[in-house]
Symmetry: C2
Subunit: 175 residues, 2 copies
């Protein structure tokens, strides 16, 4: 009888120890999202993905660039983007060009002006590191290279979830 | 007396011959402008100079790209562009993005749509070959790569003369 009780207690203890050992794993799945705080080097030399123009509160004109892995993925048309792919977005204030308008003879020309508050944004693919935000690390920097605060960056992924079926990337490649 | 007359006639004839021999040279200076009829290879991989948006009759959004010589010149800020520099302009129709607008919650987002009639334009620097048009060979191509007719290309240089003090190039580099 004592042996049976001893065995039951031993098994229960062992079960408890295993449960405690397993607990941290479930904590990892709810870890805080990780953001990117360093500007990817050489981004200004990357190839062009496309261009866009945002009105509303942004009033910017922008270029979306991609590193070689990103561009290759876009051109092959096979999602998801692989780890290491990086997409960058440079935005400038959308401003009229007086000198161009004079030549055209009408007000029609808008060019890239000064830099807005969040001049540079990036999405860096690492499906393990950035698992909490769909495999992408979000980043933004001002014109002095200062990274954006987490309170801003936390707003990226919730919107990008709308385009989950294109691996969370809104911009389409335009040949 | 006869010798003097003979000498005068000989000199006059010689002058006439020299004038005839010289005539083709003045014709060369008024030679027809030369335009570019071949798409520079690899242009889609060039680095970004800047972006712009044209309303009026164009209604396009565009990226201006440059080959390495052009980009280097822009970054060093030392005009004129050297022979071999090429600047390309890709234009897309400026269209609203329904899917982006849904996410933003308002109509604000414009993206690069289909290709307009004159999708690609280039300026190729060769100060001797293109002397008649300020050292630049002008080109345009539709989405199928068909070159534009001379009757269109003849309209390029007259407008670009307005920006002669920036080596005939309107687009400014935006870092």
């Amino acid at each position: 009888m004592r042996r049976i009780i001893f065995l039951l207690v031993a098994v229960a203890t062992l079960a408890g120890v295993v449960a405690l050992a397993a607990a941290p794993h479930s904590d990892e799945k709810e870890a805080a999202p990780i953001f990117v705080k360093t500007i990817p080097p050489g981004y200004r030399d990357w190839k062009l993905v496309s261009v866009a123009h945002e009105e509303g509160q942004l009033k910017d004109i922008r270029a979306i660039l991609g590193n070689d892995l990103a561009i290759q993925t876009y051109r092959e048309g096979k999602l998801p983007f692989p780890d290491g792919a990086i997409i960058g977005r440079i935005a400038w204030n959308h401003v009229p060009s007086e000198e161009n308008n004079k030549v055209f003879g009408r007000a029609q020309s808008f060019v890239a002006g000064s830099e807005p508050a969040w001049y540079l944004q990036f999405m860096v693919k690492d499906s393990k590191k950035y698992e909490a935000t769909g495999g992408w690390g979000y980043a933004q920097f001002d014109k002095d290279g200062k990274p954006g605060p987490d309170s801003d960056l936390q707003k990226c992924f919730p919107c990008h979830q709308a385009i989950k079926d294109r691996d969370f990337v809104f911009t389409r490649y335009t040949p």
